[in-house]
């Protein structure tokens, strides 16, 4: 498959990279480094993409694997760029801009693994799919999701 096909596929799905990097990068420099690393890894892995899975799922997995294995600073996120955008990452289409921003902020407060799990859940992935991408059992995904939702509800309630 050609370079132009690859670029086209990534362009269509670039929101995945943008959204996930926005949840983990601590500053603009780190964000740019992660973009580069993800694209480089995707470009190297592109020949192995056989099309038996969706490209979006393939890219989602690769993006998560790359983010988690990169060296990142363990500080509070400094840049707020992706929190101020108008688009919502969650399933509820009626969620307003401010609420989406608050939810993103709350998601950034929880542990890194929990962030990945809840983001996949909000993106509509089923528990077995999440389990398969993370390498954990469906049962553990359910347990974790239950706990994460409680945690997020606490964060959001505290803010009100």
């Amino acid at each position: 498959m050609s370079e132009s096909e690859f670029l086209e596929q990534v362009r269509i799905n670039q929101g995945i990279i943008y959204k996930l990097v926005g949840l983990y990068a601590n500053n603009t420099e780190e964000k740019k480094d992660l973009y580069q690393e993800i694209l480089l890894q995707a470009w190297r892995g592109w020949p192995s993409f056989r099309g038996d899975a969706r490209f979006s799922t393939w890219l989602y997995r690769l993006t998560l694997n790359t983010i988690f294995t990169q060296k990142r600073k363990k500080h509070r996120i400094e840049y707020r760029e992706s929190m101020d955008d108008s688009s919502s990452p969650v399933q509820n289409v009626f969620l307003q801009k401010e609420e989406a921003g608050r939810l993103k902020l709350a998601i950034r407060q929880i542990s890194e693994i929990d962030r990945a799990i809840i983001t996949m859940h909000l993106d509509g992935y089923e528990n077995p799919e999440i389990g398969s991408m993370m390498g954990i059992s469906d049962n553990l995904v359910s347990v974790k999701l239950h706990r994460i939702k409680k945690q997020l509800a606490n964060f959001l309630n505290k803010e009100l």
Binding site: L7, Y35, G45, N65, D123
Partner: protein, 204 residues
């Protein structure tokens, strides 16, 4: 809204920094800061240095016709060649590409193991090779510095205690320095990997 619509809607968000890379010229500008790539480059540099240093050891063994020097440096040479071989095996084992197929937990463990193995290899080198290096360096330095034979140099009353102190001080100092350097470079990253693995394996 169904899952597909939701995914499509959220997946078309864009960022200028990202979009600028999504061109044929953008792809050529990509550079990697993958920690395993950095480790792999370090291992390669170590191997190059090891070859140069082993050649020097060989030269010392051939040039100095003193059995003590020859014995010590032969031991160092054998240990260095063994370390070089282990380093080469480690180097071959490290895959710097991120898997788009393996689950996150598998990928995290692979990275953690590679980094830990590398750390142990560095520590092993300090413990096994450097006592002999310190002794060899001491003998050679004493001989060349004083212009005496090794026997004459070693007969001096302070020679043996100085040798012991040199080994006792240099080896742990080197070992802890290597540990400190490793921690400064990869300590936080390794800790983050371990925390995330633990978080995923924690059932409760």
């Amino acid at each position: 809204m169904n899952t597909d619509q939701n995914r499509n809607r959220t997946n078309d968000e864009a960022d200028e920094d990202l979009s600028s890379l999504l061109t044929p010229t953008g792809l050529t500008r990509l550079s990697s800061k993958n920690p395993l790539l950095i480790i792999k480059k370090n291992l390669f540099k170590n191997m190059v240095w090891a070859v140069i240093i082993c050649s020097m050891y060989l030269f010392i063994i051939l040039y100095f016709n003193v059995w003590q020097i020859r014995t010590i440096f032969s031991i160092i040479l054998i240990l260095s060649l063994w370390t070089l071989f282990k380093t080469y095996k480690e180097y071959k084992k490290i895959h710097t590409d991120i898997s788009p197929i393996d689950p996150l937990l598998t990928e995290l463990k692979r990275h953690q193991q590679s980094i830990t193995r590398w750390m142990h290899a560095q520590q092993r080198a300090w413990i096994l090779i450097y006592p002999f290096c310190a002794a060899g360096g001491f003998f050679l330095g004493g001989m060349l510095g004083r212009g005496n034979t090794l026997e004459t140099f070693m007969q001096k009353p302070l020679a043996i205690p100085t040798l012991i102190i040199t080994i006792i001080v240099l080896v742990p100092a080197g070992y802890f320095l290597a540990r400190r350097l490793f921690k400064a470079s990869f300590g936080n990253h390794l800790k983050a990997l371990q925390e995330n693995i633990k978080d995923m394996e924690n059932e409760y």
